[in-house]
């Protein structure tokens, strides 16, 4: 049996599909007749346009952005299958893109999409799932954008909580991260305990000399190495029952519990300074620093507050600095006046 001869024109032309079928496949398409006027508009496209597009001519319909130079139907037909980017004259806020194919009746069929403007377009036009063909991945993409944003928000909150935990942990910590010594917080607490229980003890304040020069010339890594070495020296020259703390950048404090013999304390301080002065090799260079030390003694049943004792030890430390650094001084009554006299003559050493 001979097959009926199919008319190529009818097969390939849009006439093969009823307009309603085209609408379902491509709810955002429009058909332009040979005379350049719009003859049919898909339902979603019709919905987003504030005025009917049917009957509009090319110029009234769109301004083409890319490829440049397309000004009429002939230009559109020549784009044949390529991407055309344009703005509809009736909705100039939303850039669109489309795929254009020439039709056999001399017109063109243009299937449109919002491209990257899709998120603002669905919001602007209040589009729903039913406005897109189910083969169009717009809905899936909107879903994905929203899902990922929600997940990202959760992640952001987790990061903030972890950050808060970290800061809290650091604030509550009692040790100095760099040297492993106690920190100021731990020192202050231990000093309070010493005062409360009334046993004799000594406070030693140690300030490094020439440390800033090491940091400035050899860098922070050298500075950190020096601090670690000083920490090791201080640990070695003290007993396990003493508390050694790093209380500032290059400032250390030590509590000697039940150890108040002035001569012995000065011996310990002297040994510390001697060890601290031993050059520390760093690369091809050597870090050379020293230390000034001030000591205050509390002889049991204290009338001094923590602040008084720290002030006395600091005063003794200044006395060491004014006397030329690299030495230790024990606080004694009247030392404040001597330091004050020196301070009037000389610039106060760095604190």
């Amino acid at each position: 049996m001979a097959l009926p001869r199919l008319d190529a024109q009818a097969l390939m032309g849009a006439a093969l599909l009823a307009p309603a079928a085209l609408d379902r496949l491509m709810p955002m398409h429009l058909q332009i007749a040979a005379d350049g006027h719009v003859v049919h508009v898909g339902p979603t496209l019709g919905q987003v346009s504030p005025v009917p597009l049917e009957g509009l001519g090319f110029k009234a319909l769109m301004g083409v952005l890319q490829p440049r130079g397309i000004q009429d139907l002939a230009g559109l037909r020549a784009a044949d299958g390529g991407q055309v980017r344009f703005r509809l004259a009736t909705e100039p806020e939303i850039p669109m893109k489309g795929l254009c194919v020439p039709t056999h009746d001399g017109g063109a069929l243009l299937n449109l999409s919002f491209g990257y403007a899709v998120t603002s377009a669905v919001e602007h036009f209040h589009l729903t799932c039913g406005d897109f063909a189910c083969t169009d991945l717009t809905i899936e993409m909107l879903f994905l954008i929203e899902a990922k944003s929600a997940a990202q928000e959760e992640q952001r909150k987790l990061n903030m909580r972890l950050q808060g935990d970290k800061q809290r942990a650091e604030a509550e910590a009692l040790s100095d991260g760099l040297t492993g010594l106690a920190n100021r917080r731990a020192f202050d607490a231990a000093l309070m305990r010493c005062i409360e229980n009334g046993a004799p003890f000594a406070v030693m304040q140690i300030d490094l000399d020439f440390f800033k020069a090491v940091n400035d010339t050899l860098g922070h890594a050298a500075g950190d190495a020096v601090l670690a070495k000083v920490a090791a020296v201080l640990k070695k020259e003290t007993r396990a029952s003493d508390l050694v703390a790093r209380v500032g950048g290059d400032e250390f404090s030590i509590l000697f519990v039940r150890f108040v013999d002035v001569g012995s304390l000065l011996d310990v301080a002297g040994r510390m300074i001697a060890h601290i002065e031993e050059p520390l090799p760093f690369g091809k260079q050597a870090c050379e620093i020293s230390a000034s030390i001030g000591i205050a003694v509390a002889q049991g049943a204290h009338s001094d507050t923590a602040a008084d004792l720290v002030h006395k030890a600091d005063t003794a430390l200044y006395a060491s600095k004014f006397a030329g650094r690299r030495q230790a001084t024990i606080y004694s009554q009247g030392l404040e006046e001597e330091v004050a006299r020196n301070a009037a003559d000389l610039p106060l050493p760095r604190q």
């Binding site: 998120t119 603002s120 669905v122 919001e123 602007h124 209040h126 589009l127 729903t128 799932c129 039913g130 809905i139 899936e140 909107l142 879903f143 994905l144 954008i145 929203e146 899902a147 990922k148 944003s149 929600a150 997940a151 959760e154 992640q155 987790l158 909580r161 935990d165 942990a169």
Partner: protein, 209 residues
């Protein structure tokens, strides 16, 4: 921060599930109720992180504690969690993501088979059961819930009830736990697709709905 409850491998529950249960208790019964539950279940610290994984025994302990405190069977608690996820203002992202399924509850039912894939797009490491909708005619459906964590069936049941309301459909549902070698399933009777005025939904994320 103690993470004795956190484990890397084995029988794990996604933090998002645990976090959902926690938020359900806090938002519905208050912070004190949640703290009681966490104490009973031995959860320390007393909160779940949604982006971490936990031993699933912990989830079971928490569910048991809620069930005792509320004097409700576990299935009912889980259904309430499902309803909470779709209806509460603190979890409106979930309701929105579910409404992407289509414009009607019928569209939503038809898309249920794809739900695990969609969940995977949103949260790649969340183990979600496979769903298969079987249409039995006359508005009768059977939704099979296969694999991972049988408890999900009750959460899905609660969420679907709430979602039917959200779409304005009238649906009767009955869940069935997995028995022996049979998977759990939910029987649905779709009595009316548009029974009441549903809640609005707009695709744009900036929209309030």
């Amino acid at each position: 921060m103690s993470h004795n409850s956190y484990i890397a491998v084995g029988d794990i529950m996604h933090g998002l599930v645990n976090r959902s249960i926690e938020c359900f208790v806090r938002d519905t019964y208050g912070q004190m109720a949640w703290e009681d539950v966490a104490r009973c279940a031995g959860l320390e610290p007393a909160t779940f992180e949604s982006m971490l994984h936990y031993d699933d025994r912990l989830t079971h302990a928490v569910l048991e504690a809620i069930s005792q405190r509320l004097n409700k069977p576990r299935e009912a608690v889980l259904e309430d969690v499902g309803t909470y996820l779709v209806t509460h203002s603190n979890t409106k992202a979930i309701r929105r993501l579910l409404r992407f399924s289509g414009d009607s509850f019928g569209d939503f039912l038809a898309s249920l088979d794809d739900l695990p894939e969609r969940v995977k797009l949103a949260v790649p490491d969340l183990e979600f059961p496979r769903l298969e909708l079987e249409e039995r005619g006359n508005g009768q459906f059977c939704l099979w819930v296969r694999g991972a964590h049988a408890e999900f069936i009750w959460v899905i049941c609660g969420a679907m009830r709430a979602l039917a309301d959200d779409y304005g459909a009238l649906v009767l549902m009955e869940g069935h736990d997995p028995v022996g070698g049979t998977d759990g399933f939910i029987e649905l009777h779709l009595a009316a697709l548009s029974f009441a005025e549903g809640n609005a939904f707009s695709l744009g994320a900036g929209g309030a709905n």
